[in-house]
Symmetry: D2
Subunit: 347 residues, 4 copies
């Protein structure tokens, strides 16, 4: 669905279903290694088949696990599908992030070079798409630079962690060894070790996607400024152009257009693509958005606070509600509760 029109080949591969299924296999191999076993994963895997079968169970790990268990009945022991899927997603994110940071850093390097070289290149600053006062193209590039570097730092800082929780995040089937298994599993994969299973805490995924939108936005802002500078009537820069099928004279700023269209796929809450030195509409649109976000974020926190303040727990009912099938499974131990209190109990 148009990915290959926008996404460079290498990144297309890194975010493909093939890459994802491969990462699931790596996660299963690491899971076995963490338990001191080797997994025979010589299975031939047809990604499309995995996905198609996965549709019937809403779960791409299930068809893979079935195949692996045919080779090795101990495969997947101690894990649940979400462990494999979430961990594979983090591996995909880690590798894709390398590529994205590579592009962003190249953008930053060019911005730095432009800032340095053009510190004396005087031009009109434009606010609300009207000429304002003189600035330099060097300062303009320096502002671009600040945006793209802030965004890439945010992206680089997102903790990409392994996920291992077992059937429901307790790792109870490993008994006391749960936290140790989690540590080893993360280590094998080169992912961060999370303080506790995060399958029910989606913060890091949300942060990742937010940071990706920042990078896209910082780049898209540059590209849109370039498009504006390249307007026929302005013509202060020229860029790599694509021809028109209808007009011989047209010089379309093709790669800048690709950048803007790609950035728009990420629907940032704050549009960072504003024009030149002051956007005509995008900046003003922030005011209600920010106060609104402040008000409702606090509203959610305040109402949750009240909810918890009045919460009464019925431990008997909790026990009574458990289906008989659950009797055979060990209950969760304290290890992760302690870790949560230690790492998160003080702010």
């Amino acid at each position: 669905m148009f990915e290959s029109l926008f996404v460079p080949e290498e990144l297309l591969a890194a975010t493909s279903d093939d890459a994802f299924v491969g990462a699931m296999v790596e996660a299963e191999v690491a899971l076995a290694l963490a338990q001191g076993r080797e997994l025979d994963a010589r299975v031939r895997i047809d990604t499309r088949m995995i996905m198609r079968e996965g549709r019937a169970v809403a779960n791409p790990a299930e068809p893979l696990v079935r195949r692996l268990r045919e080779l090795d009945p101990q495969a997947h022991e101690g894990a649940t599908s979400q462990d494999i899927v979430d961990t594979a997603m983090m591996l995909v994110a880690k590798r894709s992030r390398e590529l994205i940071l590579g592009h962003a850093d190249a953008v930053a390097a060019t911005c730095a070079k432009l800032a340095d070289e053009h510190r004396g290149t005087v031009m009109a600053a434009r606010t609300l798409l009207q000429q304002a006062v003189p600035t330099t193209f060097g300062l303009k590039a320096a502002v671009w630079l600040s945006g793209v570097v802030e965004a890439r730092r945010r992206l680089a800082a997102v903790e990409l962690a392994a996920q291992l929780g077992g059937a429901a995040g307790t790792l109870a089937s490993f008994g006391e060894r749960g936290p140790e298994m989690l540590r080893r599993f993360a280590e094998e994969l080169g992912l961060a070790e999370p303080p506790l299973p995060w399958h029910a805490n989606r913060m890091r995924v949300a942060e990742l996607v937010d940071a990706l939108a920042l990078v896209a936005g910082a780049c898209g802002k540059i590209a849109f400024d370039v498009i504006l500078l390249a307007q026929t009537e302005v013509a202060e820069v020229t860029v790599p152009t694509g021809g028109s099928t209808a007009m011989a004279h047209k010089r379309n700023p093709a790669s800048a257009v690709v950048a803007v269209a790609a950035a728009r796929q990420l629907t940032p809450r704050i549009d960072v693509l504003g024009e030149h030195e002051r956007a005509a509409g995008a900046w003003q649109a922030e005011w209600p958005v920010v106060t609104h976000a402040l008000a409702y974020s606090g509203a959610a926190a305040a109402a949750t606070r009240e909810t918890l303040a009045g919460l009464e727990v019925d431990a008997d009912r909790m026990r009574a509600n458990m289906s008989p099938e659950l009797a055979g499974y060990p209950p969760a131990g304290d290890a992760f509760v302690d870790r949560a209190l230690e790492r998160y109990g003080r702010l």
Copy 2:
């Protein structure tokens, strides 16, 4: 528009137009102080009037500046409207953030207490809204805790900085003293000093709104889990309830509903409100979203890289394009270019 149904009084005041207009006045006072002058700001300000007049100029600072200049002709010297508006927004954000963090921290403290007290309270873990294996309510609360603390840390880490750039971000009217003015201005207001004017780099605003959505989401996740536990057929917790106008027996989980509704105002890209130990739909919905975000973020970066790689700057045209009116204004100096290269030139 329903804010008072969701937002607590104190936060409602902190995010109100009155608070914003008051913050604009503070910014103007600090601007004068940074230049060694005192601003007479005894003007009676009618917020509604400021906003109404602001509508005609798409700018709430303009009617305020007009009034201040009647009192003191030097008011606003060296600044542009966006400096005052952006800085005021940061002041509003700073004060609102304190309130939000207060609520979030109370949520975290209760979660920590529940985690500690209920480490032995066994209950059914529920994935895809089906009972899975036993867990404890303590571990459930510990996972809630991890989410809300991660979110509040993200929010607390957002740099809220003063903005001062003059007519178009060059601070040229201060000559050499531009960076010094920016430092003093930020100091007066207790805001961070940014490395360079950020009026055309909206990263920090986007990060703020992203972080607010995380806090709202982390809290909303807790509230929705509580609603699910309080279902008539589950009844494992009871919460502060609101009566029904139609049914005497109904016990609606009112504050939890307020929390969820408030959190939904922030439309997170990743829905962190998933049910219990595994969400039936929200988790699975992440997979295309994340790969999509990875692919298009990189696509934007790659295309911007290409755009810049082929960029040719026409310095002559830049100069020639400048309107005659711009002749009287000093061009931008090098100071901010140097700071950008220093702070952002290496990654």
Copy 3:
């Protein structure tokens, strides 16, 4: 939170909490009239107090109903809070829509006039912000006209209907007279009569908000084109301007900026604000969005189809699950099932 900076006075009043609370009172009065009674609604209502008390019950109707019942114990009989809130929202929407259509129609009328007068005014068409071939300003205005009229027709076509379902959408407390009550209630209020209660079918609300975004987008597109035409270097149109606080010569296209900022509050899925005759990025961004929407919309429908195809209903369990408190309430009758089959059973 900035509404008064963007929203005209009359519309601000029509969408205010006061208007909403007033509409709730009207709904209660109509409910009584539909049952052949008159409701004494001379109560003094403090909107802020209603909202504040409503926060405790997640429900703005509850504090109002309490007050009305003091005056008249039969008040609210047969209804639930959602009936009053949803119906009040439709009344608010109906009156606000009148105002919005008034503005949109004035926009359309001016576009029509410009199209007619400037059919001979030759100008450059601009695609991807590059000059393409000659067009006329008349044709440009005609395209604006087509957008704004299509959007306003969509908005005008949204069915704004009364909602009356009783405690849970069955209207069971009215026995056989349920459908008749619904008809009379709608008639009293001048709202459409829905074929069945829609409290659990939010389609019309979603359609309303979609249509509002279309109107905002169609208008914002015009305003952004105007901003582009008014650029210093293009200067083909002039517009009502707001002064700058920093630069005497600046002529900011203030009302066009307000239009764009307002339109951006509605985050359309498809950005209809693209520049001139071909947008540089917004158009290209549609391709993955549309195919994505086609694919996932069908995916949702296909998976729901499978879900229902395999659905087995356990009528005994349904009955057994009912809490004892429900015993005193009459079950739902067939009337609405028949109406649904009649109106929706054939496509």
Copy 4:
């Protein structure tokens, strides 16, 4: 990127890049036929290659047109890339819509059957996830039916029209025959004939995506209700289930989960997935959204009205601004202005 996990095979094909490129070829063939010529389109087309080359020009039509012109130099005559891309998208939408409506109609048919069969099946209605009063499963299914039919009617009503405008929407290269060419082109393709070229009026694309989100939402609402009814503690329905990789006893409502996850890809402005008879949070979240949408939609319209009311057109500058290259192209004629006035000039 996970499409094959969610999207059925046939729809996956219909929304694929292959389908899109094939539709572009059909558009080129129809363009030739409309002009009384036959296009030799026996070219072997490698979709991936087209997209990859298209990336360099931000335009998938350009590499195709190059290949077609090698076979037939008159190929693409009178058209611009956007004509081919927009028209191809409408063809893709038309065929995909057939499939989507097929699924939606099957959903509706099952809902109708359930409504009819279960009109006497009494169960608890649940508002805010608390039991309210008795209802019937038949009425519940009838409400589902009303939602899915309203959504599919909206989708079916979207006008999918051919786009033909030439280089910049004037069809000037056809002279007087422009409107006739547009009519024939649309007829050849079985698409609607638009009153005027719509390349710069994106309303129909926005409407299409809005309607797709409605269908996804209406289906997702059903699926989520089913998930809630299938909860272990409720167990009123059973559905086709997928096994768990970790727990033998788990019965995951797999296809319903796929439906919800798919629906969530469309980020509706109004969340129509609310739980049972009254959603705990989603419904309440509508109130600020709707008033906000009403206010800002009107704000956009009002500000655009003001913008246009004060607009002054500088016809001389328009002419003077035209680049010399444009001199060779005929200006736009009146035909489309007249059609716009006729079809849209009165509301």
